[in-house]
């Protein structure tokens, strides 16, 4: 019989690989009997769902942090020489 600690590890492992048969059965048995671990399984599922939503946007993450002083100017100076002139991408279409 798994302890809650071991069961929580298997709950977590599921998000990285498929459980083998022995692990799957022992986790299922534990979850049948342990409402605390059922709750934790739901909590972790929610966290994983959130991770999926986050994508790469994460606007709230460290949202108070800005580039250090002078960084903007340093980056702009580095970019200044490398900026290509606007490209001609084709003739302007006739209006109307």
């Amino acid at each position: 019989m798994l302890t809650c600690k071991q069961a929580s590890e298997l709950i977590s492992v599921q998000y990285g690989r498929a459980l083998n048969q022995r692990e799957r059965i022992s986790l299922r048995l534990h979850l049948l009997m342990c409402r605390y671990c059922r709750t934790v399984a739901r909590q972790i599922a929610l966290i994983q769902k959130w991770a999926g939503w986050q994508g790469t946007a994460e606007p709230e993450l460290l949202s108070q942090v800005c580039m250090p002083e002078g960084a903007r100017e340093r980056i702009l100076a580095a970019l200044a020489d490398k900026t290509p002139p606007p490209k001609d991408i084709g003739p302007r279409r006739a209006e109307g």
Binding site: V65, M67, A78, L79, K82, T83, R93, G96
Partner: protein, 277 residues
Amino acid sequence: MKIAKTRAVTWDVNQGANHHFAWSGNARVFIQGNKVSGAGAACETPLPGWGGCSCVGRAGDQNLAGRSLSVWHNHLDMHWPKEMASDNDLREERSAQCDPQQWVAAHGDLLYRFALVRTGDAPAAEELVQETFLAALAGLDGFQGHSSERTWLIGILKHKIVDHLRQTYREVTVEEIDAEVDAYFDSQGSWALPPSKLKNPETSAEQEELRARLAKCLQHLPERLMRAFLLTQIDGLAASETCKVLGVTATNLWVMLHRARLRLRHCLEQSGFGQQG
């Protein structure tokens, strides 16, 4: 999800000419009921209702004469597309994209945060942002407008970060004891405190709250756990690749991810999110 028709305009089109349209938001574009496809590429955000999308479509090969272009969307913050832009407008738009001053102002801080949270190294983060802008300038022609400028820049930055992490690689071992995680269990391996049931967020306000709280919890994770979770679970970096850049074995990575999840769920509980008692 219900899709509301917001507006339809008639676009006076010269057959065979190139016409460009741009919009941001989660939008689907239809021409008289037919979704624009092929040469008139439509653009959709990969995650409905989340983030934004700006897109330049081209409808030159389609016979659009006298037809109406409608934009249907399910994104509240969608901005109405710029009025049917001509080639010249598009040229101006590309020039604007090329303006480093505007780039740095619009995306600099976000890219910096993105790099900082993943490298934990402020000077390196600044350098990575600079390298990203330089690479973006050099590869401007490669930007097809299928994704937003920001997504495109983040894509470049992600590669730079992985390269950087690889260079600074050093082997580490995961500490055997994580006192905080161990304290969640008693000596028998049972939960020391009963976990509280959390409400499943159904409304967008609840989802927003969950997102904000978890983002905050993520920041409070020990740095290595946060990075492991970010790279694999949010950025979608493969486990094998993450092991390389973090300098840990596969087993250690699973242990770290497990600890990160347990700490996140504990933090979420502590924050009192939607507790049902």
